[in-house]
């Protein structure tokens, strides 16, 4: 029996684990097969305080994991199958084995939102990607597009420009929502072009990406563009689908009640699975610490009663 089971191993989950273990709470962290969350798919993180020269996303996650391990967090690097929050203790099933915990912190984060256009799904890994740092090297000398207008689209484009012959950012609006510094880097890069007011309607090609159908939402014109790679960076979907009894909003973000509690007593939430506003590594870590402190307080109340 664990005091706390944490679901998720991004900045939110790992920070929670650092706090719960330091509070001497027996902690199990279900890290998932692809542990470390979205930062594992990035390169240089320049806005996490404490690293004046920046730090590589994967290095930051490894450091956080080591810190959580140092205080005794137990890790399972598998995806969980199901949860049962209906009775105490709560149950989490992983690879056929059930683990029990008095409190649960949900920190499952968010995953890539795909375009959901014809031709996309079957070409993921065959020219369609959501991770330029992982796949850019395969597009040396090729022509690519990046879809999106936020910080992650800017990063994808910047990383790709080091390998690809050309990078075109396709964005459905006429301005980016990305931070000024990231936008500036992209707009000053001679290899990167921008197509404003444009949407990808279809991805063409047999077995691999060969082109896209574009729609200009200002002029209502449809056009074809031959292309080798499509990098999708239009946002993320919260990983809340496995929690049947936990309230979410329409987009799937878990609803927060009074300091990182969910609608279920003893189940707390932290990070991108509830945060549709900030979505930063540092805010996720902050939520992780807050949820852990709330869980600790709740467990104290439970013992006292």
């Amino acid at each position: 029996m664990y005091d706390v089971i944490i679901l998720g191993s991004g900045p939110a989950g790992l920070t929670s684990a650092i706090y719960t273990t330091r509070a001497d709470l027996k902690t199990l962290l279900i890290a998932g097969v692809k542990w470390g969350g979205q930062l594992q798919l990035t390169t240089l993180v320049e806005n996490f305080p404490g690293f004046p020269e920046g730090i590589q996303g994967p290095d930051l996650m490894l450091a956080m994991r080591k810190q959580a391990e140092r205080f005794g967090t137990e890790f399972i690097d598998e995806d969980f199958d199901s949860v049962d929050f209906s009775t105490q203790p709560f149950k989490v099933t992983v690879a056929g084995k059930t683990h029990e915990g008095k409190a649960v912190i949900i920190a499952t984060g968010a995953e890539t939102k795909w375009l959901e256009v014809p031709g996309e799904k079957e070409k993921i890994g065959r020219g369609v990607s959501s991770c330029a740092p992982c796949d850019a090297v395969f597009f040396r000398g090729k022509n690519t597009i990046v879809v999106g207008g936020g910080d992650s689209a800017m990063e994808e484009a910047t990383v790709l420009s080091k390998f690809a012959d050309s990078v075109t950012i396709v964005h459905r609006k006429d301005s980016f929502r990305a931070s000024e510094i990231m936008q500036k880097r992209v707009l000053e890069n001679p290899k990167i072009k921008v197509l404003w007011n444009s949407e990808v309607k279809e991805i063409k090609g047999e077995g691999k990406v060969e082109g896209v159908v574009l729609f200009n939402n200002k002029t209502n014109e449809t056009s074809q563009m031959p292309i080798d790679g499509v990098f999708v960076a239009i946002g993320h979907i919260p990983n809340s689908g496995k929690f049947k009894d936990i309230e979410t909003d329409e987009a799937g973000f878990i609803k927060v009640h009074d300091h990182y509690k969910t609608n279920k007593d003893g189940v707390f939430v932290a990070g991108d699975v509830h945060d549709s506003h900030y979505k930063q590594a540092v805010t996720a870590a902050g939520y992780g610490s807050a949820a852990a402190l709330e869980a600790e307080r709740w467990l104290e109340g439970m013992e006292a009663s």
């Binding site: 097969v33 692809k34 542990w35 470390g36 594992q40 798919l41 994967p58 690097d77 598998e78 995806d79 690879a95 993921i124 890994g125 065959r126 020219g127 990607s129 991770c131 992982c134 796949d135 090297v137 395969f138 597009f139 077995g207 691999k208 790679g229």
Partner: protein, 108 residues
């Protein structure tokens, strides 16, 4: 049996001409998800000893083979039977998932 190292040079002999099916993990040192898959591949080499030849191919050093098989994302784990790729698994997956796909492909 431990896992093997495949290269552009030995690929034809070790993989394409192999009598037993071969599992090839296309990877690179800079690829973070590959580091997650790597120990799983080593376990699969032991688990399927005698039934399956298992090895890794570094795409940085062996670009020709990676390109021949249209590798555009890593890790890509490809199962070869009689010199033909019969199953491609793209992205880091759980050991159970790899086993499920391998068992299905070996049975067919």
């Amino acid at each position: 049996m431990a896992d093997l190292t495949f290269t552009d040079q030995n690929f034809a002999d070790e993989v394409l001409q192999s009598q037993t099916p071969v599992l090839v993990d296309f990877w690179a040192a800079w690829c973070v998800p590959c580091r997650i898959v790597s120990p799983i591949i080593e376990e699969l080499a032991v688990d399927y000893s005698g039934k399956l030849k298992v090895g890794k191919l570094d795409v940085d050093a062996n670009g020709t083979t990676a390109q021949n098989y249209g590798i555009m994302s890593i890790p890509s784990v490809v199962l070869f039977k009689n010199g033909e790729p019969v199953k491609t698994m793209i992205g880091a997956q759980s050991k159970d998932n790899y086993k499920k796909e391998i068992d299905a492909a070996l049975a067919s």
